[in-house]
């Protein structure tokens, strides 16, 4: 259960509250972890894999070899990072020619991809390595909230590269959320995309936002206290997306929380401890709601 924590770009550089919350949770749960020092962008699957697969494999494998040296599995807290690193790892393990080509690039920096470790996603890791029961036992503040769980795409898909459950009706994430005392509220199009992936947010923002608006509308209809996701790209799309949509006259006001942050809250940390007040949108109502739940 030795792991190295891969931060990626968005967590440390846009939503550091997720980084802080993850650190606190891994410590509280007694996980043998360390940060993956010197890692780069995963690199993001939507654009960089699209441009050139060799580059995508070279950069992803560099990140993986940093963790191979430590003999630790890589833990990702982002669906995009997971998509890139897990898929690249599998491709290189299964394809000797690609492995040889990638290693010839890596040889220039004195690295060599061996294929000795796995890439994990925090939801899958918590579910299978810690378990719902142990998490329940650790909770000091049951959250008793109505929550819209958003899986995001690359945690589960492509299913040919994933060990986790059903693509259409998964439950692992819902079980982890309910372990904290929350109710996972069902809503239409729950398994739909946030709109950000595939480089759509970066180049075609209006299209991304239209998909986000559709999904937020379904979540709004379910009457929840917050959205819980496990991907900072989805986090940004829902959070900053609500700011953009409000500017266009459509206000939602649904707080967006990464699972690490929700878990840290249930372990007794405050909203400020894990940076929920640092979201782009105003989350003060949510922070007040938490305060009122203290007793």
């Amino acid at each position: 259960m030795k792991i190295s924590l891969f931060l990626g770009c968005l967590v440390p550089n846009r939503y550091p509250g997720i980084e802080k919350a993850t650190n606190l949770c891994l410590d509280e749960l007694g996980v043998d972890w360390k940060e993956l020092e010197g890692a780069s962008c995963c690199p993001a699957p939507g654009v960089f894999r699209s441009f050139d697969e060799s580059t995508w494999l070279a950069l992803a494998s560099r990140n993986i070899t940093l963790s191979e040296t430590d003999e630790r599995d890589v833990l990702t807290i982002c669906n995009g990072c997971y998509g890139s690193l897990a898929d690249a790892n599998l491709k290189l393990k299964n394809n000797p020619l690609l492995k040889e080509q990638t290693n010839s690039h890596l040889s220039q920096i004195g690295h060599h991809f061996e294929g000795t470790i796995d890439v994990r996603h925090i939801i899958e890791f918590l579910y299978s390595e810690i378990g719902v029961q142990k998490i329940k036992e650790k909770i000091v503040r049951p959250l008793d909230m109505k929550v819209a769980v958003h899986y995001g795409c690359h945690m589960l898909k492509p299913s040919s590269n994933r060990a986790t459950a059903s693509v259409e009706h998964p439950s692992v994430f819902d079980e982890l959320v309910e372990a904290l005392g929350c109710t996972s509220v069902d809503y239409p199009d729950k398994m739909e995309c946030c709109g950000a992936g595939g480089g759509v947010r970066s180049a075609l923002g209006d299209t991304a936002l239209a998909i986000t608006k559709h999904k937020l509308g379904k979540i709004e209809g379910a009457g929840v206290d917050c959205i819980v996701e496990a991907c900072p790209f989805c986090h940004m799309q829902f959070d900053a997306g609500q700011v953009s949509l409000a500017e266009k006259g459509r206000k939602f006001g649904i707080p967006v929380i990464h699972y690490s942050q929700l878990l840290a809250l249930s372990l007794g940390y405050s909203a400020e401890d894990v940076g929920i007040n640092l979201n782009e949108m105003d989350c003060s109502d949510f922070c007040n709601l938490l305060e009122n739940k203290k007793d």
Partner: protein, 162 residues
């Protein structure tokens, strides 16, 4: 530079010609409901000719994999789209904003690098202002740049816009 696959390889590798145009992919596509992406038509285009390479809707796919998961013929639809995108990119078809993101990666090793406002947020959380990534490891950043150069990434992403 290894280069992009050929369109013939994409068709072969991802079973594109097995498409019977049933439309399950389009019916499952979140982008298709909001934008002009019609996955069913795009698959047909990929299977028939090279026109798909310059089809603007190629870049509207969020890679959510709904279409690929549900395809009754097991066609690697998203994987094919990614591969066709790489052919397009190697031929100079890259959107300006994507080129910008590629430049960020080349300069900082991150698609979204740190800025002063977020250094401040990190300090509010008692985190180091710079994360433990290549942002605080200059030699790591050098290695990343060397890999990008070895793969010819700058040449691929630096061409003229379509």
């Amino acid at each position: 530079m290894a280069g992009a696959p050929s369109i013939e390889e994409v068709i072969e590798d991802f079973n594109v010609l097995k498409c019977m145009q049933c439309g399950v992919c389009s019916g499952s596509c979140p982008s298709g409901r909001q934008a002009s992406l019609n996955v069913r038509r795009l698959v047909r285009k990929i299977g028939r000719d090279h026109a798909a390479i310059s089809d603007e809707s190629l870049w509207m796919c969020t890679t959510c994999y709904n279409c690929q998961e549900r395809c009754p013929r097991g066609i690697g639809i998203v994987d094919a789209i990614l591969a066709v995108r790489s052919i397009a990119a190697h031929e100079g078809h890259i959107l300006e904003r994507h080129r910008h993101v590629a430049n960020l990666l080349q300069e900082h090793g991150h698609a979204v690098p740190i800025d002063d406002a977020h250094k401040e947020k990190r300090m509010q959380l008692n985190l180091n202002p710079l994360p433990s990534t290549v942002h605080s490891h200059p030699n790591g950043l050098k290695d990343v740049k060397r890999l990008l150069s070895s793969c010819g990434f700058g040449e691929i992403t630096g061409g003229e816009d379509q």
